[in-house]
Symmetry: C2
């Protein structure tokens, strides 16, 4: 089958072996997949991953141990824990020490015609939610997970720092959840996407000097964003870090102690919550789509996604033909 | 009066003007004061402070608007907020933007024969609590404040990293509160102080490779302690930062996101809680006393305190004579 593989380099493999469905796994046909910045980082060596890339997808179950899944549209939790440890039994297994992570660690991903995934990771997609919306379930779940780091955020003034894909989606998620969020970034064109949805926005340079809010989400993807986030947070406020900055960087952390800040790391969320938000119409991520490519143009799609400032690039689709770029 | 002042340098001033008691202030005679590492940092320029140093003390009220204070032994919250803002009305005023901080910012401190302090900051010291114990109220309150950053810590495995004054006192405070704390450091002699109190201790080099606990308190006073603390914390665990590292330093913060850690800054606590812990005998900090000097030997006392590895140096005392060093 066709798949985008990472070995010494990223390449399209037309003769990739079909995935073998193990007991407990579902075999899924990929319908649409999304390219994430993490895919670029993996291509540069992050996590030492080798295999088929891709962890954002919506697909259709071709085969499964539980036959009721067959034919259903699904998204999936990318973390597949061992299912036996306390972390898996009591929580979602996102921190299981023996977990594999779809297209990131120990498990082939979704930039392929077909993939396998543990049935316990599947979440059904209701009919009203289109493929183009459902493919955002994984990053939207991660965005909604901010609310787990700051309970009672509804009605709270907040800033999302960074107007890239992650920042925009996080601002949409918080806005949809009733947080009084302002999206702050450097790009008027991107901020306008949020503004059109009724989300208050501000160019970084236009923020009043003394701006401080009780909740700041750091989604800049750059080390400097951390220091800036600390300076935007009220004493005893919460800073949620979404950016995985792979390199050590020089950050003055003393404001954390002086202002007694809560700095909380936030990674993956619950796919079910994302699907619910999409179905209820609280979030519509489709304005974030920049272009869609057929799987056979996956190399070109990744090159497009790697261009600075590109919003969401999708792969696949029924017709397997390149659609016109949307922006 | 006699006072230890910081101007271009730290010096003992035998002709320091008497403090003038403003309405709402109490005039307090210093009985015993403690030297803190922050005093050394202030002497090196931290906060740009100029004035009388000293923020750990126990004293006797000589005069006050509320006459019931007169003659009582007291300690005091070092933060004096404006009393009017939400931070002051709803909380302790520790983050009031217009606060002064005794001997640290905008207010003369306790390394003097007499000082003034707002009456609302005073906490009475019960008779059974000796001066030598009560003088630890401020740092003990800061140590107990860790429990505010990690609710439900009783019975929880925890590590205090750093066996200096702050680490030892924090380990004592958590141990007294029922946390299953291990003190980890580099100095067998200091660890033995905690061990004699029944607190489990470990030399840093002896910790098993995979040690990870849900609560880590960073009290090393060095930038490297932060990275080490992150590596000792379970996924979703809490790291409490006590160290104010004045310089920016290079720290890989990605474990915060990957392991979804909670990193919480912790500064000052409630003096009343500290006095309660001392009165109930849950904490006895006196083994931390290294030596006691009369106020007139304050310069010598600070030089002693500045020597690497020195535990608590006290100033003052009824006899105003230098006692024999305890260690």
């Amino acid at each position: 089958m066709l798949a985008l593989r990472l070995a010494d380099r990223v390449f399209l493999d037309p003769e990739c072996p079909e995935p073998a469905r193990a007991p407990g796994d579902a075999l899924v046909r990929m319908r649409v997949a999304g390219v994430c910045d993490t895919d670029m980082q993996l291509a540069r060596g992050y996590m030492g991953f080798r295999g088929i890339l891709g962890h954002e997808f919506v697909g259709e179950v071709l085969d499964a141990g539980d036959a009721s899944w067959i034919g259903r549209r699904v998204v999936a939790d990318i973390n597949a824990g061992c299912g036996l440890c306390d972390e898996c039994r009591l929580r979602a297994g996102h921190h299981c020490a023996r977990r594999s992570v779809l297209g990131i660690f120990g498990r082939d991903g979704a930039f392929a015609e077909r993939l396998t995934i543990p049935e316990r990771c599947l979440v059904a997609v209701p009919d009203p939610v289109s493929d183009e919306a459902a493919v955002f379930a994984e990053p939207l779940a991660a965005a909604l997970h901010v609310l787990d780091a700051c309970r009672g955020a509804e009605g709270m003034p907040a800033i999302v720092l960074g107007d890239g894909k992650l920042g925009l989606l996080t601002a949409m998620a918080l806005h949809g959840a009733g947080v009084r969020v302002t999206l702050v970034g450097h790009h008027a064109s991107k901020l306008s996407i949020a503004a059109r949805l009724g989300i208050p926005v501000a160019l970084e340079g236009d923020l009043p000097e003394a701006t401080r809010v009780p909740l700041v989400v750091e989604a800049t993807g750059s080390p400097g964003g951390i220091a800036r986030s600390l300076s935007l947070t009220c004493p005893r406020g919460t800073v949620v870090l979404k950016t995985t900055v792979a390199d050590s960087s020089s950050v003055d952390l003393s404001p954390i102690v002086i202002d007694e800040l809560h700095v909380v790391g936030s990674r993956c969320g619950e796919l079910r919550q994302a699907i619910e938000a999409l179905e209820a119409g609280r979030v519509d991520p489709r304005p974030l789509i920049a272009a869609r490519y057929p799987l056979r143009a996956a190399e070109e799609a990744l090159a497009h996604a790697a261009r600075k400032g590109t919003l969401k690039i999708l792969l696949g689709g029924e017709q397997e033909e390149r659609s016109k770029p949307r922006s």
